[in-house]
Point group: C2
Chain length 220, copies 2
Amino acid sequence: MGPTSRAHQREQTIRTLVTEARRLFAGRGYGAVGLAEIVAAAGVTKGALYHHFDGKAGLFRAVLEQVQQEVAARVAAAAERHDDPWERLTAGCRAFLAAGSDPEVQQIMLVDGPAVLGWSEWRAMDEAASARHLAEALQGLIDDGTIAFQRVEPLTHLLSGAMNEAVLWLARPGPDGDHPDHPDHPDHPDHPDHPDHPDHPRDLADTMAALTRMLESLRS
Amino acid sequence: MGPTSRAHQREQTIRTLVTEARRLFAGRGYGAVGLAEIVAAAGVTKGALYHHFDGKAGLFRAVLEQVQQEVAARVAAAAERHDDPWERLTAGCRAFLAAGSDPEVQQIMLVDGPAVLGWSEWRAMDEAASARHLAEALQGLIDDGTIAFQRVEPLTHLLSGAMNEAVLWLARPGPDGDHPDHPDHPDHPDHPDHPDHPDHPRDLADTMAALTRMLESLRS
DNA sequence: TAGCGTGACATACCGACGGTATGTGAATGT
DNA sequence: ACATTCACATACCGTCGGTATGTCACGCTA
């Protein structure tokens, strides 16, 4: 079975640590989770954690990196299913809003990320993971004249910020408690009436419509 | 001089505590500032702090409330200098981007706020302070047909998020260190006279231009 | 294959921090 | 005047992030 080689053990420990930390950070936020809880869930001790990461923030950085990679992958996959640059952009935005429905994305990537690592480092990581693709897509549309000539950076940050906030708003808890403490998954949805978690199912569509209108308006 | 009445002492202590906490939180972030440092700067002890606030987060809440009030006041003041609803909106947005040049606004209101109090409470406070005015302005423009008919909430959050991110991006440190550690108070109490800095003077103009274009595009 | 260096942890411990319980003296109502 | 309450100060506690040190298995070399 699993060969107990050094490299394998190392990788295994790191993976478990990141996975459990991700689960706990997403559930109760960075500040409310202690290292003791993390290492207990991972079945190791603090010694192991500090052997592989430089402290709590370092572990969080690894978690954030993983989350960002996954979001970026989902967005890229959605974009690549289209050929027209404009379609690629809108599809990517749609995929981002959809990916944000994951509570892990909201809490780790959008709420705790900037506060724990500082805004500039968070921005740099987001840039490397996904904002770069957004900027490239926009630049392409500017170059071929699809949207009005302008610098990409301001536009990129405006759109990026708009979508980040939209993700958090879309995930807001409904009138009833959405996840009082743990986003646990009981087999029975509260209201079997409606399909699934969009508390306000029209919000996603309306938000995407407004976003599309904003993008559309940039056409020259 | 100061009448040493109970109410006066109370108010004085609270004000000093909030002021010093605001300065320290803005300078090094919520997590890096201890209560001991705050109460020492305010010239009181932890007993006083816990007598007036319910813990560190409670003090931060009071600080955030103050910062949000000030930003909202500046935005409102800028908006009220115009009569045309459209001008009021754009002027308000411009004032918000300018108000964000204050490092206290960036760190306290935009970075630590959501992480410390949780996104939903932060959102509720922002809603009460300023986002409500944005929503009302947009609703007015929708009602009189200036911009396309649509729900206000998605639009409000998209614009709010866009501007929040824009503020942080505009304040990014230049190639040289902007504020090595302490952006601590120069002798000039608040605004030197110009909002301040821009490391990249064209960024603010370009961002405002892009934002205006986005708004303009919503016209029906 | 015996030995040995190194990597991958576990254990024990420390200082600091957020929070609480209790004491105290001045201001205030009666 | 006296009692009460308020606005703190003091002393203390549990927990947490971080560190120093110990230990044992793996893997390379001779």
